[in-house]
C-alpha cells in the first residue's frame, strides 16, 4: 500500500483538538482515491484527548491516519511538520493547518496541478470559512484569505515535492514564526517554482478574540525580524524598506503624532491618516462606518502593540522591522 501513496498530508496540531477533528472529517470526505493518500498528524495532546480525537477517527481505524505524539510543550509548527513529512511515504507532501477545512476536491486538485508542473510547489486557495463568516463582524478576528500565488506560501494550503523538502532540510526549527515563508524563500533561491491551484480550496477558521486575546495571539509576530534577517530581500516590498505593511507605517506615524502632542498640538495631525484609514476599514455604509469608528480605540491598541512588539523583536534579532 505504501508504494501507491502519491501524496501525504501533514498536519501539525497544538491546542485545537476539536478543530483537528473537523479537519480529519473533511479529509475523510476527499474525492481522491483513498489508496493514493495518507495523513500524518503530529500533536502534543495528552493520551485521553488523542484517543478521543485522533485514534477514534475512521481514518485512523482504516490505517490511513498516522499520529506522531510528542511531549506537551516541546513542539513548534516547524518541528512538528518536519517530524511529519520525515515519516511520510508520499513523494508529494501536502500541508494544511489544524484550523482548516479543505473542500472535498482539495487533494485531487493539488495533484492534478502538480502533475502538470513536476517539481513545482503548488499553492491552493484559502478563504475564510463560509460557515463562519458571520464572525467577521467581530472587531478582532483571525482568519486567512489567499488568492494563489501569494508572496508568503503559507502552510495552511500548500504542496511540496518531497525532493524539495529534502534539499532544503525541511523547515527551520529555530524560527518561532514565518517558518513557512522561510521555506518558500529558500526554495525560490534554489530555482524552485510555485504554481497556483485555485480550485484546491481550503476554508480557514474565522475566530474572534477579545482585545487582550488578540494581543496575546499577535505576540509571536515580534519574531518576524528573524525572518527578515534571514531574507533581506523581503524589504523590497516593505514601505520604506522597514515597515511590514502600510498599517504599521501609518500606525507608527500616528504614534509619533501622539507622542509629539506634548511639544506641539499640531503634531496630532499626524494621526489623521491612521484615523481616516481606520474609519474606512469596514467599507462603505453608515452602519459599517459607525462600527469602524467604535472600533478605532481597540484597533489602535492592537496595531501599536504589534509595532512595539516588532521593535522588541528588532532589538533581539538586530535588524529593524516595524
Amino acid at each position: 500500500m505504501q508504494e501507491s501513496i502519491a501524496v501525504s498530508v501533514v498536519v501539525a496540531s497544538h491546542a485545537r483538538p476539536l478543530r483537528l477533528r473537523w479537519l480529519l472529517n473533511a479529509l475523510e470526505e476527499q474525492t481522491l482515491d483513498p489508496s493514493l493518500w495518507q495523513v500524518f498528524v503530529v500533536h502534543d495532546y495528552e493520551g485521553a484527548v488523542a484517543q478521543r480525537v485522533v485514534k477514534s477517527h475512521p481514518l485512523y481505524e482504516a490505517g490511513r491516519l498516522h499520529e506522531i505524539a510528542i511531549a506537551p510543550g516541546t513542539g513548534s509548527p516547524a518541528r512538528q511538520r518536519n517530524l511529519g513529512w520525515g515519516e511520510a511515504a508520499g513523494e508529494l507532501i501536502a500541508f494544511v493547518d489544524d484550523d482548516c477545512r479543505p473542500g472535498s476536491g482539495w487533494l485531487s486538485e493539488l495533484l492534478e496541478v502538480s502533475a502538470g508542473e513536476p517539481g513545482a510547489i503548488v499553492q491552493g486557495a484559502t478563504r475564510p470559512d463560509p460557515l463562519e463568516s458571520d464572525i467577521l463582524a467581530a472587531p478582532h478576528v483571525r482568519t486567512m484569505l489567499i488568492d494563489p500565488v501569494g508572496p508568503y506560501a503559507q502552510t495552511c494550503n500548500i504542496l511540496y515535492p518531497r525532493a524539495v523538502l529534502d534539499r532544503l532540510d525541511g523547515f527551520d526549527e529555530t524560527a518561532t514564526t514565518g517558518e513557512d515563508v522561510d521555506l518558500w524563500l529558500r526554495a525560490r533561491a534554489l530555482g524552485v517554482g510555485i504554481v497556483p491551484a485555485p480550485k484546491a480550496v481550503v476554508n480557514h477558521a474565522v475566530e474572534s478574540f477579545s482585545l487582550p486575546g488578540i494581543l496575546r495571539q499577535n505576540l509571536k509576530w515580534r519574531h518576524l525580524a528573524y525572518l527578515v534577517k534571514q531574507h533581506p530581500e523581503l524589504r523590497a516590498s516593505f514601505p520604506l524598506g522597514v515597515f511590514w505593511d502600510l498599517e504599521h507605517f501609518w500606525t507608527t506615524v500616528g504614534l509619533i503624532g501622539l507622542l509629539g502632542a506634548r511639544q506641539s498640538p499640531w503634531s496630532l495631525t499626524l494621526t489623521a491618516p491612521y484615523v481616516a484609514r481606520s474609519v474606512l476599514r469596514r467599507g462603505p455604509g453608515a452602519g459599517r462606518r459607525a462600527a469602524a469608528v467604535a472600533e478605532v480605540p481597540g484597533q489602535a491598541v492592537r496595531q501599536v502593540a504589534e509595532v512595539v512588539g516588532l521593535m522588541a523583536g528588532s532589538v533581539r534579532h538586530r535588524t529593524l522591522v516595524l
Binding site: L18, R21, W22, R52, V53, D134, I135, L136, S208
Partner: protein
C-alpha cells in the same frame, strides 16, 4: 430528589413534559421550567439579542440570566438541560449553588452550526465538556456527537424516565 428540567422552546418540549411526569411517578419533586414562554422576559431578550446578533454573537444569550435566577430560587439537586442556552444557565447555577448538571443532546449537532457565530463554539463546548453527564436522545444524535465533538454519549430516549432516574441517583451518590 428535587429535579428541574429546563424545557426548550423548540421541538422536544412535549417529550420533556412527559419525562417530568414519569419522574414524578418515581416520587421525585420535578419542576419543568420553560422560561422563554414568559412574554416580558422574551421582549427584553429580543431587544438585547438583536443588538448582539448584529455584532455576530450567537443568540439567544439574554435568557440565561432569568433562567439562572429561577434555578437559584429553589434548591434543586439536579438540573437537566436540553439545549445549549439552558445548559449554560445550569452550569452557571452549578458554579453558584452546587448541584449536578445533565445535558441531553436532542437534535444531532451539525458542523454548520458549531462555530457560525461568536461564542457559539465556546458555549457548545462548555455545555458538552463541563456538564456532569451528557446523553444523546437518539442514535443519530449520538453519532453526530461522536463525529463533530469527538464525544461518546450514551443514548437515553427522552421518554425513558427510569433510565434518567437511575442516572440522577448515580450522580447524587
Amino acid at each position: 430528589m428535587r429535579i428541574v428540567l429546563l424545557c426548550p422552546a423548540e421541538r422536544g418540549a412535549t417529550a420533556v413534559e412527559r419525562l417530568g411526569q414519569g419522574l414524578r411517578g418515581f416520587g421525585h419533586e420535578v419542576d419543568v421550567l420553560a422560561l422563554r414562554g414568559d412574554q416580558a422576559r422574551a421582549r427584553i431578550a429580543t431587544v438585547a439579542d438583536r443588538a448582539l446578533a448584529k455584532r455576530g454573537f450567537v443568540t439567544p444569550l439574554a435568557p440565561a440570566l432569568p433562567t439562572v435566577a429561577a434555578l437559584l430560587a429553589r434548591s434543586y439537586e439536579v438540573a437537566h438541560a436540553f439545549s445549549i442556552p439552558e445548559a449554560q444557565a445550569a452550569l452557571m447555577w452549578r458554579r453558584l449553588r452546587g448541584g449536578r448538571v445533565v445535558f441531553t443532546c436532542v437534535e444531532p449537532v451539525e458542523r454548520a452550526r458549531l462555530a457560525d457565530r461568536r461564542l457559539r463554539l465556546r458555549l457548545t463546548r462548555g455545555a458538552y465538556e463541563d456538564s456532569d453527564v451528557v446523553t444523546a436522545a437518539s442514535p443519530q444524535a449520538q453519532a453526530a456527537l461522536g463525529r463533530w465533538l469527538a464525544l461518546d454519549a450514551p443514548v437515553i430516549e427522552l421518554g425513558d424516565a427510569s433510565s434518567y432516574e437511575r442516572l440522577y441517583r448515580t450522580l447524587a451518590s
